[in-house]
Symmetry: D2
């Protein structure tokens, strides 16, 4: 259960006080505000604030297009056109602020997306809580044998049990020692900025993360992808649901052109053209490497 | 008059429809929303949207500091502490979106601030209006004789009249020719993306500009400064008024620590220390160049 | 002729003095250093400095992958893998610094690429030269009738002559007046920062532009594209030649996966799959709009 | 000892092969190239590549100043002027690429500087080494009693010994378990991307980090500061030495205006002016809070 009763009470209070504004309001987002979407065993994603909606994307685009856009009749068509042609600036006109609780090893991947604003809980100032990510048994996987950076099948029986036992025991021991070192009971107490170094990467941290919609889509394209590590993908999936409610037209275009689309190389396009003319193209005469060809076949087969 | 009756009607309509939101609301900004603050002869600044307020800065900072911030009792004190110690990330948690109409030569300075989102009216797609910045007679200045990049005294009499006459005549002639070239009346009509190249840098353009509060303060520090060109400074001044109404505590700290403050070098601090001990320090024994010493004296004299 | 004898002498001198370095050296770039590649009537692109080469991309990638990259046997294969999977950070490890002379209306498009470093010649400090872009007759086009933001056929006969005559006469008159206003001969002389506003957007400016290879590829993908305005595309084309000599393997991958590739939407991929099974798909049953379908057919036909 | 014999041999080989280049060469940096500067117990900083020197800063500035700068006689004066007036773009024209080995908790602070390029060793692909930061006894400090985010005095006797014992034992146990979990000896072996979560924040990682000189100075100002955590400050100090050898004039200006300088608020400047007139100003009539006044006194006393 990621939320304490106090946190739930705070959320309930914030949600009980609607106020008047002249700004654009996205009804789908109002329903999300402040509520925590649980992710993993102790994590969550909470919408703290947002700016703009589908109409704001079009409004910004029409400043740049001015009177020339009369032919684009409706907002959804314009949004799909912008997404298809990589016109990213109108999507930057929407902004979202999230409160996220996440394991440190996930935070380390996440922060590599540089075009965002972040305020993280500081373990120099403050004491971290005793909260660690321990995977459920169906997410304790072996190293992949085909992909150096992925996981293979789920570990079974005694091996899985041993892994979970180690993760739990080491986390708890590390936290016991963390508390022991910073304690000022009968001793000076180690500085927090030093003591934190004993905590493993599955300890939870939290931050406020603010990003524009274009850069959020970029994050989601990479992190909601099947090749992303499961533990960050579940955060991306939770955010996808929020964005679908916030800017339905933009999210629809994102699903079609980015999540569901694929980029084909010049060589791959050439193969498609030959295949459509009836030619039986093989990897050997495709100009592609074996790896590329395997990926190309997956795209054509619909499994990618 | 920068706004047409249609534009005024559109603004009036937008301002007549308050809606409910659960987000934080800044009353000082609601009063500004959509209204155009006139700048120069045809320009304006309009607030289109905003995210956050003084409390949002503190809320983000308190995620960072967690329990460690209890010692800072109130929001204003915390905000001043953050500003003083260059803790910029909490200020990034507020965002503003402006609609700005401005001459192209001002836009060219403005766009050099890279950490912002921009949608500009496109003269490839659309036809620009016949609107040019013509300075008022009290802002037609000579080249400065002390500063290569500034202006000196106001031009007088016949010289001033000649300048204004040239600017007006050339602007109008350029626009006549622009219209003539793109006209499809009895001819094919030149492409807009080519015709625009005949228009001078005092033609007005417009854009949506979205920026976070930290980067906005950076922009304002440089552009509301006495050394900034007058024509961009008046935009910065207009935005300063808006920000003071939006986040009064943050703006107060910005005024004290940035606009009203000064950075002293190690050499300058050393001179101050010697002077406070009663020593009569001169440029020759200050370790500073003549230019530095002049600026140092201006800071101590309060004229900088 | 874009270079004066003094400039050519300066370049010759710089090229005559090789020095020793322990850094990686890209022979293809050494041949370009300082030389001006002419673009348009008075513009150029000059390589001032560079960092890294194809090997530096792989070296950085191998820090990421450590022992995991042993399976990718050679550098070219690794570079193609990185490009195909949008692993952009290793490409960011190469950097290039260019000196570019270009018309202001081109500079205004160019500067929208924010992730770069720029030092522009300042018309507040300095006096601009009498150099204006005047298109050659084969690049004076009509407004496109199918694309609001493009050009159609080349203007003919009297209309083309009139356009060129206007552009030349207005440029020269604007510059005469610019000189007249700033002159201090028998008058105070208007400040440069004001006088420049009389100059049209085809006046030439120049800047130093420094960018990493990943962001340069992004720039080239958009600006070397058939939909980019001709006057910026010729700069992108010139830079493409330089990059091909600098990092041949990375440029080859860029050509195949970006310039020569295409992104297909989920709907488009679905159509391809149906077509490969022998189905005759039409726009009506494709799920695509007419515009999308037209672009899709162009991709399959190889004309895009 | 941070370098293995293989690494030292690789460095020696790279340093034995000077090549010819037409680019600008900084002799002070050539002496650093590839060599590892040891930091902490297993860390290092190595210069991998660089672009530009003091002259390159001036060259870029003079494009932006053009003919107007004849009065700035020499490069050092120009560089000091640029630094004093926050003209940051010419400093962006120099670039440095470092290979850094550092504990994860230091990497987490470091990465918050967003305007840089990073390639980190990936623990999804590769196996981390058994290397952990264990502080020397003189850097095992108590929590500060005056500053929530700092350290106080060095821990003594049994308490210090207990801390070091815990850090060593927990690190080794965590690594034993890490190895045990990923082992494929008689079991499937846990995926690396999961096993890494058991490792504490004092484990060493490494990355390539590339940054321009302006953003590097910003990093150094914050991280070479007395308030920065000791473990990142030693990296900043090592880099300061490198930069002083690379761009001596720019580093000198940075030392005087940034590291050795201080920003005074409007209120503080007002107090200085009153004090210089002979007035005895106290905190009560300064307009400053107690915290501000304490910092102000430290600046005037030279202890800040």
């Amino acid at each position: 259960m990621p939320l304490s009763p106090e946190q739930q009470a705070e959320i309930d209070e914030l949600r009980s006080q609607p106020r008047e504004t002249l700004r654009s309001v996205a009804p789908g987002m109002e329903a999300h505000l402040y509520k925590a979407l649980p992710v993993l065993d102790h994590g969550f994603v909470r919408v703290i604030d947002y700016m703009g909606d589908d109409a704001a994307i079009c409004q910004a685009a029409r400043v740049s297009y001015g009177k020339g856009t009369k032919s684009v009749q409706n907002d959804e068509g314009l949004i799909r056109y912008l997404m298809r042609h990589w016109h990213s600036t109108p999507f930057e006109m929407c902004e979202i602020k999230l409160h996220v609780k996440l394991p440190v090893f996930v935070a380390r991947q996440w922060i590599r997306h540089r075009t965002a604003n972040v305020n993280e809980y500081s373990a120099r100032y403050s004491i971290l809580d005793r909260e660690f990510y321990i995977p459920t048994p169906d997410h304790v996987n072996a190293q992949s044998v085909v992909n150096n950076q992925g996981r293979g099948g789920v570990l079974q029986g005694a091996e899985a049990a041993r892994v979970l036992e180690i993760l739990k025991a080491d986390s708890n021991r590390a936290y016991d020692h963390y508390e022991e070192m910073i304690s000022q009971d009968g001793q000076d107490g180690l500085a927090r900025e030093l003591a934190r170094m004993n905590l493993p990467a599955n300890v939870y941290t939290q931050w406020y993360w603010k990003v524009d919609l274009h850069n959020l889509f970029h994050f989601l394209r990479l992190r909601a992808d099947a090749h992303a590590q499961y533990e960050i993908r579940v955060y991306a999936d939770a955010i996808c649901k929020v964005v679908a409610d916030w800017v339905p037209a933009a999210y629809g275009a994102f699903e079609d052109y980015r999540l569901g689309g694929a980029t084909l190389s010049g060589k791959a396009l050439d193969c498609v053209r030959r295949m459509l003319k009836g030619e039986a193209v093989t990897q050997e005469d495709s100009g592609m490497s074996k790896g590329e060809w395997r990926e190309f076949e997956a795209v054509l087969g619909g499994s990618e």
